[in-house]
Amino acid sequence: MAKAPLPVETLIERYGPHLNYAPPGGWRDESRHPADRLVKTHCCFCGQQCGIQLKVRGDQVIGFEPWEEFPFNKGMLCPKGVKRYLQANHPDRLLDPLLRTENGFRVATWDEALDFTAHRLREIQGRHGKDAVAIYGGASLTTEKSYLLGKFARVALGTRHIDYNGRLCMVSAGTAYKLAFGVDRSPIPWSDIPNAQVLLIAGSNVAECSPITTDYVWRCRDNGGKLIVIDPRMTPITRNADLYLPVRPGMDVVLLMSLLHVILRDGLEDREFIAKYTSGFEPIAESVKQYDPKRAAELTGVPPDSIEKAAHWFGEADRAIALHARGIEHQSKGVENCSAIINLCLATGNLGREGAGCAMITGQGNGQGGREHGQKCDQLPGQRQIDDPEARAHVAKVWGILPEEIPQAGLSAQEIMNAIHAGEIKALLSMCFNPLVSLPNADFTRQALEKLEFFGVVDFFLSETAHHADVVLAGSLQEEDEGVTASVEGRVIHIQKAVDPPGNARVDWEIYCDLARRLGKEKFFPYKSSRDIFGELREASRGGHADYYGITYEKIDRQMGVFWPCPSLDHPGTPRLFEDLKSLHRDGKFRFVPTPYRESGDPVNEEFPVYLTTGRVVSQYLSGTQTRRIGALVDQYPEPRVEIHPRLAQEHGIKDGDWVSITSRRAEIILRAMVVRTIRPDTVFIPYHWAGTKSANKLTHRTLDPRSKIPEFKVSACRIRKAPNPPEWAQDGNVKTS
């Protein structure tokens, strides 16, 4: 049903990605005219949410100016932030709703498109039940939109299946932090990082994925702090690491347990902290006994001496911080890896003080805020658990429905795709999510999309996934609507509207309100502005862990952000959690959580002897829907390359720049080799921002962490060989495409 209506090449020719290099009017002429105004807002990309000023003239964003007063980044920006303004006024921008025809897509009126969408959703729900429809959201959306989407799914559609692409990002860390602390937020503000004496960074390519954090890391070193980096690759921050631990993919938990082994063996733990403030220590102490540095070295490939040294540095420091990101979280034991980090901090009493603690480095723009208020399948606003009767009663009251009318938890993002593939879910409404590029096993995802009876998309560019849509509703860019997001620090910040959506594109919340009206649920969606939605969200979150009740747009502007929880209007917000040394569990204890080792869901063997790991490059963002359309960012890293150590390359007769076939249990792709000594010889790396035959996610597998349901992007098995011919896309010499 939902096969792409035209060949991909034709769709790309019409809808992009095309490359935008210059501001409106070009570099030389019109763009010399000055801006009418500067709008203080934030970057639309990653979880750093840097402050930035957009230059606006008339109804166009024409450039940027650093915003040096914003305390998190003080004017600093990565190349994505510098060029982010080029997504506005882009030739690929969707200006009207589109309806699928036999010959592609045609422009439709909003009435036509919304009537059709509502009609199809009703029809399918009538035939197959409410849960036959699923909703996908995105973690780049403002918190208002995320909240609205959760309410739309549960109130307007009555489906339990709503989840979001943050499922590919923060859920392992979130689960581990909830298990240990009772709340899903990094306990420290970033200003703590320079004050640590030891900084342990595990599975985080800070310089490329959260570039602004680099300055915090370097300041820590300038203050005399020691930097320990755990990663199968030498990423740019490794250039100043005092200790580099080149862990074998998937073995992080063993390495981290071995660090705790040494700490306990040598009596470096904080006995008083453990006794007074924690529970569950004994079984953990027992479980790490098996991983002495020698055994751990055999399993992880990290020298025993390095393990000893790292453990001593971390254990002997008065103030240590452990930062982690997708490297350890994108695993079928992603939760265990994060729990092992937390266990290290708890055992050494590193929590609730300046310069001490652990933090997850949020990847997506609103990775933090987007998961707190209802687009995650198991949560209600305020980070409330959906199966908690008290939480249901509170939220039902705010929504004006009965608690039993709120559906129970639905499936997670990958599980929704699995259920679509199995024919159990028949219709999907997706917003700002490009699963064809970002979910594992892209061929499986494509098959699933082709089975949908109805597929609706809300987006501003036609992503590769949207090629399969029956209807595309032209939504808004971040700079075209007002709202809030929560940054990596849990700092709630204000996204300002700079311009109106162009053409007939609309702000997203209006689209959902109009759809709700067509579904007969108008009275539950009476909003006239984002501010109205935020007002309701404040009430819905009130009393929850992520309590936004005391936050207003004006307060955010005044304070340059408000850290949640902020339970009352006179409350300043909470930059550092747990200063009272109490968790948010009922007993107030911090919990040690067991971290047993499990094998990867896609183990290496003789047939597939090489580890494949995936990640990002600094000039691209996630599935590339936005950044593959910006010329300078594409020029900086035009095509995915496979990083191979010279030792492995030599075994296969591969030289730098050769075409290499990479084959996993799912698929084969052909990419150019980048032969570098900065990766383990048993591992290859491919960035995942591209679609089709350049897609790293054709190779990855659908194994999920059993609790967080995150896919295991960071550990797959593959084999490589020198390719006899370039791939089809490179044969016409036209390599520089996005």
Binding site: M76, G81, A207
Partner: protein, 192 residues
């Protein structure tokens, strides 16, 4: 900005090209960056280095210019060549010990980093040093750099027999006073 100086610390550079991209946004050379970032040796290392003009006190580029087209402002900023004078001979490109000037062949003019003269003259920081996420490029008061950094700034560079002093500072290990790149500078040679 009174008391502010420009500091380059290559060891902080993460190769993100934010400086280069931001430089291209300049009002005076729109779309074309005047600075660059290089990998030292990507096959063997992730180390990268940013290159901005060091603004020499006695600029080699100006000294070798046969058309007298390269001028220094009163406050020590070495500017792009003067368009009416520049003969596009590339002497400056070849002679600069830091490899900074660029010959814009389509304009028949040498252009280079002028430390964002349009911004600094209005009390703003240069664009690259403002956006640099690792602060490998920093425009801050001297007191701040001395208080906050492990390394020490120098503006004395020795290239064999050429000693160059610059407006821009480079961060070097604290036990050193100048940066020498020639092995001969580290040797003992009997005076003849």
């Amino acid at each position: 900005m009174f008391g502010y100086e420009f500091y380059v610390d290559p060891s902080r550079c993460i190769g993100c090209q934010s400086c280069v991209n931001a430089c291209a946004e300049c009002e005076t050379h729109r779309g074309t960056p005047m600075i660059h970032v290089d990998y030292l040796d990507r096959a063997n290392s992730i180390s990268t280095v940013p290159f901005v003009c060091m603004h020499c006190d006695d600029p080699t580029c100006a000294k070798v210019c046969p058309a007298d087209a390269i001028k220094k402002t009163e406050d020590g900023v070495v500017q792009s060549s003067l368009k009416p004078r520049c003969i596009a001979c590339s002497n400056c490109v070849l002679a600069c010990p830091f490899g900074i000037p660029k010959m814009m062949t389509e304009l028949e003019q040498m252009m280079k980093c002028d430390m964002c003269y349009d911004r600094t003259s209005e009390g703003k920081r240069p664009m690259c040093a403002t956006v640099c996420p690792s602060q490998a490029l920093a425009y801050v008061p001297r007191e701040q750099i001395e208080r906050m950094r492990r390394d020490k700034p120098t503006n004395v560079f020795v290239f064999g027999k050429q000693r160059v002093t610059t407006k821009v500072f480079m961060m070097i290990p604290p036990e050193r006073d100048a940066l020498s790149v020639d092995v001969a500078d580290y040797m003992w040679e009997a005076k003849t």
